[in-house]
Point group: C2
Amino acid sequence: MNNKAIGVFDSGLGGLTAVKELMKVLPNENIVYFGDTGRVPYGDKSRQTILKYALQDIEFLKSLNVKMILAACGTVSSIIEESNVNIDIPFTGVVAPTAATAASATRNNKIGIIGTTATIKSGAYKRELLKINSELQIFEQDCPLFVPLVENGFIEKDNKATLIIAEKYLTGLRNKKVDTLILGCTHYPIISEIISRVIGSDVKLIDSGKEAAMFAANALSFSECLTERKTNGSCTFYVSDTVNSFSKSAGLFLQQNVSQKVKMIDIAKYSTNLEIINDCG
Amino acid sequence: MNNKAIGVFDSGLGGLTAVKELMKVLPNENIVYFGDTGRVPYGDKSRQTILKYALQDIEFLKSLNVKMILAACGTVSSIIEESNVNIDIPFTGVVAPTAATAASATRNNKIGIIGTTATIKSGAYKRELLKINSELQIFEQDCPLFVPLVENGFIEKDNKATLIIAEKYLTGLRNKKVDTLILGCTHYPIISEIISRVIGSDVKLIDSGKEAAMFAANALSFSECLTERKTNGSCTFYVSDTVNSFSKSAGLFLQQNVSQKVKMIDIAKYSTNLEIINDCG
């Protein structure tokens, strides 16, 4: 059991922020990663479709016999959190660990949350924060263009277009004087310098991918499920589009050549027993 | 046969530019539209994945017994054009009709092409233009952020972010002094005012959705396949994500309430006999 891999997934590349952190804190663990690059992005799709895709992603990782699954995607985590589905394997999303860190970081009890449209619509982060401390004041904003901007490389800290769009999204939160901002999508840390410049350098940014990775590491340690391996673990990547473009971006992000470790799969073949849920947009 | 519907498809909303034109020039025809909203966008995915999705879309429309299929999507049209697949039903994409109009419109023989990354990579428009006139000078530029900008409503003619991004994409083409610009993606006419402002108001913009619709109308007329119906035809919409968001946007775009005419389907169930093609990115 303990030497099985940790399964991590995201709609695309964003979840690699969690993988990078896992590799740092648990270097001996094997990791299998799935990026649903053939259906990316998730954040502007409906709750019903996101849930269907997420359960297929989980089904695929379960078929690889992993010991734990980490949904390193703010959108998936939010939708699963509010859907109350039963995943019969140790599982964590990014919402609970991130909310816990944010609630403990704030000094003025004003927390901002940014994420995809689906994430913000779900209200998952807000519910989790208020469960921890009902006196928190929460301000939310969806930022639907941040993922395409990141995916298209508009990420330098003085990128004019990204700065203007960040101004449009973040001015309201800045005016509310939040002292803590949850980056509720695992893509957003990649433009944290721009976000910081707009929201104010005194606002603490909480990186959901990193928080989830730390939480997963602690959970495995606490339940005595860490690997007994004494040498470095391996990382294997699966994607639902072809491997080339992912290999290149992932290699750059993780600073290692991963091209021999990426495989393409047909995710639509993984069925779920999900019953049709009422369409809520 | 003649009273069967015309099938139109796109990755999402863009193809409605062709539907709007068809409704204008052939008001008595029935139209069935499929928007692959559960897997949108196509333009930054690989050739192999786009082709698989396109053939599933075609398979679905064939199951509705249409008399003709119009791929109202620059990305799909480009990939199908270069893939030489055999579609055993009258079919047109946007590439050939658009190239013909552009070649006839230019005065200085300098034509620009903009489209998604997959469209530009395929070289389909360029090949088609040079087939018509080998003396044309062709300049190409992919504009991967235009689709998300349009889908997220960054479309007012003085939108700062879209203007800056358009400057980045179009300055090279402006410097080449093209007098004709192919809008090779059916989303782009929605920001034609911004494009025109950046490229210069004297540059003629060619709308690929409109050109394809005109071509389809002429082809049906020429082959005596127009409907004999004397009253207005109907339009039915199918999508692969839930219907709400599509209904709203399509209603606004077509200026009619379509909410009772939109149905959700599971597109992944439509299989194709496509053999695996070499991964070219």
